[in-house]
């Protein structure tokens, strides 16, 4: 189980971005973390994966524990070896390398040959298209294929917890549906999933638990069905206004006034 407790993160020693985040991802579950752009979702993931350094970020308070052990001071490589891998926002596949070599980088920490073979078979089963395009240069894959490659690459480490940062971003509705099914499949095979999404409907439809984040704080959490039904969540995170018309997230002013219901 992953436990984030009271986490505070500061960028460049001055910008306080996370103001005390606490969340849990129990073994074998799907947990959704939702929130508007800039809420601090990606920052939370960086803190979990040990990737804050690259961004001049520091954990100033709180802790991240994995199966009871503190991991907030560990190197990214140790965290991956401990069983947590993440698919970064924007896929970040190695565009100059072919599909197979991309997958090999995912298996970097996995030194057990039979475990790598098992992971590879699993990836090929989940994403047959990656098998067909094994020798293709990754940069030339379509957006959907690249997302599959990014997920497949993360699975090569045989993680116990897979973290996905906005996997549906920029994908056509049909592909979003496909990614959603794949996440469910991966989870059924025993991997816990922490899913960050802008597409709240999709995420909440498959999650066991949902958290909603705003301005570096968690403002709501609970049963995904309840969250989906909640009027405010509908309005501000699902973009559905009373009559059903789409509402822009960019309507910040209005939103901030309405935010009082949260406190």
């Amino acid at each position: 189980m992953l436990e984030v407790a009271n986490l505070e993160v500061v960028y460049n020693d001055v910008v306080l971005v996370l103001r005390g985040i606490s969340l849990q991802v129990p073994d074998g579950e799907i947990v959704a973390l939702l929130g508007a752009n800039g809420a601090g979702k990606t920052t939370t993931l960086r803190a979990i994966g040990g990737l804050l350094d690259v961004h001049e970020g520091d954990i100033t308070k709180g802790s991240v524990t994995w199966n009871g052990e503190r991991i907030d001071k560990k190197e990214p490589a140790e965290i991956v070896r401990a069983g947590i891998t993440q698919v970064l926002e924007g896929r970040r596949i190695f565009g100059e390398m072919n599909v197979e070599d991309n997958l090999r980088t995912g298996a970097f920490t996995n030194r057990n040959k039979s475990s790598v073979d098992t992971a590879y078979t699993r990836v090929m089963d989940l994403f047959p298209v990656l098998g067909e395009r094994r020798k293709a240069v990754a940069g030339y894959l379509s957006g959907g294929e690249q997302q599959m490659l990014a997920i497949g690459r993360a699975l090569m480490a045989d993680p116990k917890l897979l973290i996905l940062d906005e996997p549906s971003l920029g994908l056509a509705p049909k592909l979003v549906q496909q990614i959603k099914d794949i996440i469910v499949d991966i989870n059924k095979q025993g991997t816990a999933v922490l899913l960050i999404e802008q597409n709240a409907t999709m995420a909440l439809s498959i999650a066991n638990h949902g958290y909603i984040m705003e301005n570096g704080k968690l403002v709501m959490d609970g049963d995904p069905k309840k969250l989906l039904e909640d009027e405010d969540v509908q309005e501000f995170y699902l973009g559905l206004h009373g009559s059903g018309e789409r509402k822009s997230f960019r309507d910040v002013k209005h939103y901030k006034r309405r935010k009082r219901w949260l406190s």
Partner: protein, 323 residues
């Protein structure tokens, strides 16, 4: 009759001259290729432009001289034919230089991660001065022979006539280039390519970027050392490693730029192209109007011509400009 013989001799010397330009160009180009390859591997993996590359090459050559002629280690302990003893000592010196590269990365470069490229380049200039000062102190004013078995021996076959060391340069370079090609297909090599492409994404896969940096510096330094050896023996140098050796590497810069700063195959091709261009210029462009040093300028001319047509070098990628 005598006229015929004279014509024959002229034709022969024409062929000899041409073949000589090629063999000389290839062996010179091989040295450039080794220098460029090490430089490009360091740059591609770590985004550091190492101005200490020439000093590291000279250090490698110096260590060979020291191990083979002063310590007689570890080749001497092994016994066997002299050439084998020397080779073992030389390999050991190359490995020692690789370790120096690893240490340089760890103590001088790694703490600079995240600093502007310019500042890091300045650090490598500092390293260059430090390494050269130390090695020059040991070398003192007299060049040191490497104790190599090549001597001034010449290998001849038909129109081909090459110094033993030139043959060795070409063979060793081919072997090393193949080894590097193999390396980039290995687990660590694939991780290095990934790191070169996207450091954070590599870290997210559990690749220890710091370790990859250290390995890149070790490989770069090792290749520089080999280049340093072959540039310090006959016919490239008459008396061994000297204060001049460190500057030999600067002659490889056109090769690096020509091939594309971030291209591994480009480094090899660039090295040979520049080597051949320099060699042919030296043999054929000997009109008095140009002066004797003209062949030394030719690499830069070739480089500038290529850059006019292909601003990123023959194999370089456009992104490099963003750096």
């Amino acid at each position: 009759m005598s006229l015929l013989i004279l014509a024959q001799a002229a034709a022969d010397s024409g062929v000899d001259k041409f073949v000589g330009a090629i063999t000389n160009g290839l062996s010179l180009g091989a040295i450039y290729a080794l220098l460029a390859l090490g430089f490009v591997i360091i740059f591609k993996a770590t985004q550091v432009i190492s101005f200490a590359h020439g000093a590291v090459a000279a250090l490698g050559a110096y260590l060979v001289a020291y191990f083979a002629t002063v310590l007689n280690f570890p080749g001497g302990a092994l016994g066997g034919p002299a050439w084998l003893q020397w080779t073992v000592s030389a390999v050991f010196a190359v490995l020692a230089t690789a370790v120096v590269g690893l240490v340089l990365e760890r103590v001088a470069i790694r703490p600079m991660i995240g600093e502007p490229i310019f500042s890091i380049a300045m650090v490598t200039i500092g390293l260059d001065i430090v390494i050269r000062t130390i090695t020059n102190d040991f070398i003192s004013t007299d060049p040191r022979p490497l104790g190599d078995p090549f001597g001034t021996n010449i290998w001849e076959a038909g129109p081909i006539s090459m110094a033993y060391s030139e043959v060795a340069t070409i063979i060793v370079t081919i072997v090393l280039v193949l080894a590097i090609a193999w390396f980039f297909r290995s687990r660590i090599g694939v991780a290095m390519r990934a790191t070169a492409f996207d450091q954070e994404a590599a870290m997210a896969q559990g690749i220890s970027v710091g370790r990859i940096f250290a390995i890149a510096w070790a490989i770069g330094a090792g290749l520089a050392a080999v280049a340093g050896i072959f540039s310090s023996v006959f016919p490239r140098a008459s008396q061994g490693v000297s204060a001049e050796t460190a500057f030999f590497a600067f002659r490889a810069f056109p090769a690096i730029i020509l091939g594309g700063l971030d291209s591994v195959p480009g480094a090899v091709v660039g090295g040979f192209v520049i080597g051949l261009a320099e060699s042919f210029a030296g043999k054929y462009m000997t009109w008095s109007g140009f002066g004797v040093g003209f062949s030394g300028i030719v690499p830069y001319l070739v480089m500038m011509l290529v850059l006019l047509v292909r601003p990123y070098g023959l194999f370089g990628t456009e992104e490099i400009r963003r750096v």
